[in-house]
């Protein structure tokens, strides 16, 4: 068990170990959805919420069910099922009780199941042997970092609409290159805190 304060992990997950910019996770929806600031903000909120909860659930499932039964190798299947089931459950609850929220968030929830960032966080926290608070801080921090990146990207892409981009580079090409520049900027944070 490594001894890092959860707050350190929280800030590291946002700035220095950003899910998209340094671990390349969650790229698919990052490129597909980062067109509008509002939608990317809703998606970011949904991802943060799901990440926070699934990191907790997966922590308990892994340490209190899989480890005692020595079934650690089944973690991929178990985690993906937990994530899918949780997302389904949240969708049902939101639809039933928070109708306005459902309309702004609803369509994004099914997308989240296949977001690599969610499974990635669960796998990272097992590999790095985080304890309960560290895992939770890592989950929430990763979600916020992801939101930060996607919202910033949406803002930049809005401006791009009036720019003249070389043919062939439009769409995903230019998005990736801008992401590269953003990652470069985020490298500047790497002096503050560092986790693996």
């Amino acid at each position: 068990m490594i001894d890092i304060h959860p707050m350190v992990i929280f800030f590291a997950a946002i700035f220095t170990n950003n899910m998209i910019l340094s671990n390349f996770l969650g790229m698919c929806s990052f490129i597909a959805v980062s067109n509008e600031i509002r939608t990317s903000l809703s998606l970011g909120q949904a991802v943060t919420f799901v990440l926070g909860c699934t990191s907790l659930i997966n922590y308990f499932v892994y340490h209190y069910v899989l480890v005692p039964l020595s079934l650690e190798y089944l973690r991929f299947i178990v985690f993906i099922i937990v994530i899918a089931a949780f997302v389904q459950l949240v969708e049902m609850i939101i639809e039933r009780y928070f109708e306005t929220l459902y309309y702004s968030l609803g369509i994004f929830l099914p997308l989240i199941t296949v977001n690599c960032a969610i499974l990635g966080v669960s796998l990272f926290m097992i590999i790095r042997e985080y304890n309960l608070f560290q895992s939770f801080a890592f989950g929430i921090g990763s979600g916020l970092g992801w939101t930060l990146a996607i919202v910033a990207m949406a803002g930049i892409r809005k401006r791009l609409q009036s720019a003249s981009i070389p043919k062939g580079l439009e769409g995903p090409g230019i998005t990736l290159i801008i992401t590269g520049i953003m990652a470069l900027a985020f490298l500047g944070f790497s002096g503050i805190v560092q986790i693996q």
Partner: protein
């Protein structure tokens, strides 16, 4: 036989998962700082796509329609676990280097996409080949990116130094931004040179 040729053409060139469909780049980029890692990752993915397409295709008549996504996910997870255990047992250092990215093959959209788009509707053998070729197409892109990143970043290819002692290493290339720039450039080049036919009117420059 023309069906087979079509599948081959689609997998490697026309519908190449990475640069045509922008799928599955999550796990593409993280491992491309060394060619060896990319190669192992590519072969692993080939194995998983091929066999999960085969299994999905065999089971396609017995899978109820509304739970098919769940069944596909389970099939894919089973193969990924096999791959992970294999690497852990026979190549622990590589397993450590790839870290969680082996597990993340499960959420790689290519496999799910092929299972859903192709294996669900076609016979087992052709689905297997389709999956395998999608994996090969993916590996080629992976190796291409890794080639430049390793060459410029470490001055070596497959761990063998080729650029000599005096090469100034481009540290940027082995850090995350290098991966984004490389993939951006690869997509640009492929759009520019190989797929002019679908950009209306061709290039004007």
């Amino acid at each position: 036989m023309s069906e087979m040729r079509n599948v081959i053409r689609n997998g490697i060139y026309k519908d190449n998962p990475v640069f045509r469909q922008i799928l599955g780049i999550c796990s593409t980029l993280a491992v491309t700082n060394l060619m060896m890692n990319s190669f192992v990752m590519g072969v692993g993915l080939m194995f998983v796509t091929g066999f999960s397409s085969l299994t999905v295709s065999i089971l396609r008549r017995y899978t109820p329609k509304h739970i098919r996504m769940m069944v596909q996910t389970l099939i894919i997870s089973a193969y990924v676990i096999a791959l992970d255990l294999f690497l852990k047992a026979y190549w622990p250092s590589m397993s450590k280097a790839l870290g969680p990215y082996v597990g993340l093959i499960i959420t790689n959209c290519i496999i799910m996409g092929r299972a859903e788009a192709f294996a669900q509707k076609n016979k087992p053998l052709i689905s297997f080949i389709d999956g395998l070729l999608m994996g090969i197409g993916y590996t080629i892109v992976l190796l291409f990116i890794a080639f430049f990143r390793e060459l410029l970043g470490f001055g070596s290819i497959f761990g063998i130094a080729v650029l000599g002692e005096n090469w100034v290493k481009w540290t940027l290339m082995i850090m995350p931004p290098g991966a984004f720039f490389m993939l951006g450039i690869v997509i640009w080049l492929t759009h520019r040179f190989f797929h002019e036919d679908d950009t209306e009117g061709g290039t004007q420059s």
